[in-house]
């Protein structure tokens, strides 16, 4: 590590961490609707040229009984029943919950049901396995601002990491971001965690776009190392501000109905300024978060979430006041200076301050154990006297990330009518000894630990050593 740090993922975890982003978005948490003036003419081009082709796979009406439930919004039901049919949650209630005739009934005694875990920070597909030059597609590190690039154009659907994230981690949706070499890394994409031939077949229907931003060490190191701006943190801000100023000008022209040439970069930035595209901002240090919040006010956008927010605990009050989420690791620290002040109580302290709290991975291995990361953070908080229930902690894994991605109306909890994105765990998911037993996406059983036929195997792994093995 250290002197050998490069911008290629897969060389070391420290590198990967540095590539991860912290992005902040423009909308209030949970508000994903466009703030555009209805009088403004629609853009003279297709704003959704690579539309989702995802369709739910077939499922059967199912009831899981005698099970402990974390509903994803802070509620817990002991001895509960969860019912889903036609891809949607029908009910999550006590033992008296009616079970539709003909439903498949699974006895969940000793087991737990939760909403599927949603990871707001993943580079699966853009830095896939194997991590080689041929697949290194996460950082367009040729300019410090590349809002014109879209992560979905790099995602390799055959990344074996998607299947591992489902089978071991219970991940049912995730946001794929460009890396953090750039101040503005490009558009993110939110996916259902389903195998598909195409990225369009994975795209979460109706999810808004995000834009990845990064502050701090990475952009200044990458571009300073190339002898160009930015080479300092003040350079980071100057480049960002100049870019936003030009974007405002572009948006004014468009809003006034003037003819403009297609400008992919400014189209993304104008989307942020309009509130249609959510900003996810990689940002470790508390003082930089405060500056970014002001920069967002200066140009009229909002930050949805700071990612890798290891110092959120220092400004948790500010984050709560400004409605900005923090996406955090449980205990990663020390790989670079801006990760030096990490504390294992960070997540619990953010929760205590009433700010939006999210556990994220930024890692193809960590995404397989986000429930365990939440468990460690929960224990650290309790050890310092912060009272948080297990069920509240599950909001860090499902409903809060859903809000930060603008998909909370569709998924992230067991509320009736939402997508049946569900994990049945073989024990308490906050125990190290627990694994997913079954995972449903939109009510379709896509992983079953006891059925090798319900285990995804990518094209890449067919005919290779270990094909179809437990992983």
């Amino acid at each position: 590590m250290g002197p050998n740090i490069t911008l290629r993922a897969g060389i070391s975890l420290a590198v990967l961490a540095m590539l991860g982003g912290c992005a902040t978005t423009a909308a209030d948490t949970g508000d994903t609707a466009s703030a555009s003036d209805p009088a403004v003419k629609p853009p003279p081009f297709d704003t959704n040229p690579y539309p989702s082709t995802y369709r739910a796979y077939p499922g059967v009406p199912t009831a899981i009984t005698n099970v402990t439930v974390f509903d994803g919004e802070g509620g817990r039901i002991d001895g509960g029943t969860v019912v889903f049919a036609n891809g949607k949650i029908v009910a999550a209630g006590d033992a008296a919950t009616p079970i539709p005739a003909g439903a498949t009934v699974i006895d969940g005694t000793g087991r737990f049901v939760t909403p599927g875990i949603i990871d707001v920070h993943s580079h699966l597909g853009v830095y896939p396995s194997p991590g080689i030059d041929s697949t290194s597609d996460g950082n367009e590190a040729t300019s410090p601002t590349t809002p014109e690039v879209w992560a979905e154009h790099s995602v390799w659907p055959q990344d074996p990491g998607f299947g591992r994230a489902m089978a071991n981690g219970g991940i049912t949706a995730l946001q794929i971001l460009p890396g953090s070499a750039n101040l503005m890394g490009g558009r993110t994409v939110t996916l259902k965690n389903v195998p598909s031939r195409t990225v369009q077949g994975m795209k979460f229907p109706g999810a808004p776009y995000g834009m990845k931003m990064a502050c701090g060490e990475n952009p200044k190191r990458v571009y300073g190392g190339k002898g160009r701006m930015p080479s300092t943190r003040m350079g980071n801000f100057a480049v960002n501000r100049a870019t936003w100023a030009r974007a405002l000008e572009y948006k004014r022209k468009v809003d006034a109905g003037k003819e403009v040439a297609r400008d992919l970069a400014n189209e993304t930035l104008a989307g942020v300024l309009a509130g249609d595209i959510l900003v996810h901002n990689h940002c470790y240090r508390a003082d930089e978060m405060a500056l970014v919040i002001d920069m967002a006010k200066e140009f009229g956008y909002k930050v949805t979430a700071f990612h890798h927010a290891v110092e959120s605990y220092k400004v948790a009050d500010l984050l709560a006041k400004n409605g900005v989420c923090s996406a955090m690791w449980a205990d990663w620290w020390g790989f670079k200076l801006e990760a030096y002040d990490s504390v294992p109580e960070n997540i619990a302290l953010v929760q205590q301050a009433g700010a939006c709290t999210i556990v994220h991975s930024d890692d193809a291995n960590g995404i397989q154990r986000l429930n365990q990361e939440a468990a460690k953070a929960l224990a650290s908080g309790r050890r310092m006297g912060i009272a948080i229930s297990d069920a509240e902690a599950w909001t860090w894994l499902s409903s809060n990330p859903a809000k930060a991605l603008g998909i909370e109306q569709q998924t992230g909890s067991l509320t009736p009518g939402k997508m049946a994105d569900i994990v049945l765990w073989n024990g308490n998911p906050f125990s190290v000894y627990t694994r997913p037993a079954k995972v449903w996406v939109d009510g379709a059983l896509l992983f079953d630990a006891s059925d090798p036929a319900r285990r995804p195997v990518t094209d890449f792994e067919l005919g290779q050593p270990g094909e179809g093995d437990v992983k």
Partner: protein, 436 residues
Amino acid sequence: MTRIATLAAALLATAVFAPAAQAQDVAITNARLVIGDGSAPIDGGTVVVRGGKVVSAGAGGAPAGMSAIDARGAWVTPGLVAGFSRIGLVEIDAVEGSNDTGATRSPFNAAIDIAPALNPLGSAIAVNRAYGVTRALVYPGSSSGLFRGRGAVVDLGADRDMLTRGGVFQYVEFGERGAGQAGGSRAATFLTFRALLQEARDYARNPAAYDGRSKDSILLRADAEALARVIDGRDLLFVKADRAADILNVVKLKREFAGIRLVLVGAVEGWTVAREIEAAGVPVIAPALNDLPASFEQLAATQSNVGRMEDAGVTVAIGMVDDWDVHMIHYLTQYAGNLVGLERVPGAAGLSWDEAFATISSRPAEIAGMGDVIGSLRPGRVGDVVIWDGDPLELASRPVAVYIDGVAQPLATRQDRLRDRYATPSEGALPKAYDR
């Protein structure tokens, strides 16, 4: 929780204010006692430490006249031993001046002994100690040659000397990284390896006559001396290899160089050739949970690797191989716990709890040739003892007391200070800088 809180308070009185660096004679009684050698926990057990060493551990009470700590049923284990780490060599990975893992611009390689780079005051030492890690195998990073240098076994005690034993092993990586270092191919790696060891043999036959300065020489004298220690087995040889074919070729080197004491590191595809590894009597230090084809030499990666090798009779320890090997070596407990959890996954091979704990205590110690010194609570081993507030492999558990060489250790960290300062983030009458 009340029971544990009371215990912690009692320990605070005895432990934290004990004079630093002074071994206490202590008996910990009424423990759920884990010896660390793969045996089952003993309820109502007692461990006795005198003069910094374990004198007994097992069922029964404290010897008469000894000061005793009543664990009240809490888990008591040996300190954890990290099978793969770079702790002590790094403060911050990306801050070059604080990172002494590698020396790619040095003319030396095999002779580089990591010991003088160890900094016992590094903040990662206090953090990992607070999670119950008391000893670690420390590996050199990259070098200018195929061989990377001499690794050590260290302790994480709050004192000025962290070296338990220096020059324990020589480290070399085969596979993709070794091929890159040897000029571009695995074939070149094996040729380079053989040529270097042959030349080291020449050196060993007559050191005074060795011409390490001529143009034809491929080894500096110091490096030749270091490799001579590998040839005759004074230093262990730790070899990283992941691809099944590489593992088999490495294992065959044992036949060619009869004196070397070989240890495999990595072995991500080891399960596919577990019988051959076992037959060669080569132990393995493996990452616990790698299940991604992260490279073309790890296509068969599965979390069942450790369990399957164990089932084949291979001696396996786990370590933070290609992982957070400085700041988060305490992930060992979580990883070991995951291997226990695998036992409940149909078709997977994990470990029993007792085996899993051994992979992070006695096994790495034995593989480093130090099983008689560290890694378990068998009599004669160092007095590295941890009292926990729960199952040590569980995510919510933390140590309430840590002893190293019988010395009660401070458990506070820089992270604790930051946490306390910002327990309430808003500023009071004075800025946060005055709050300590």
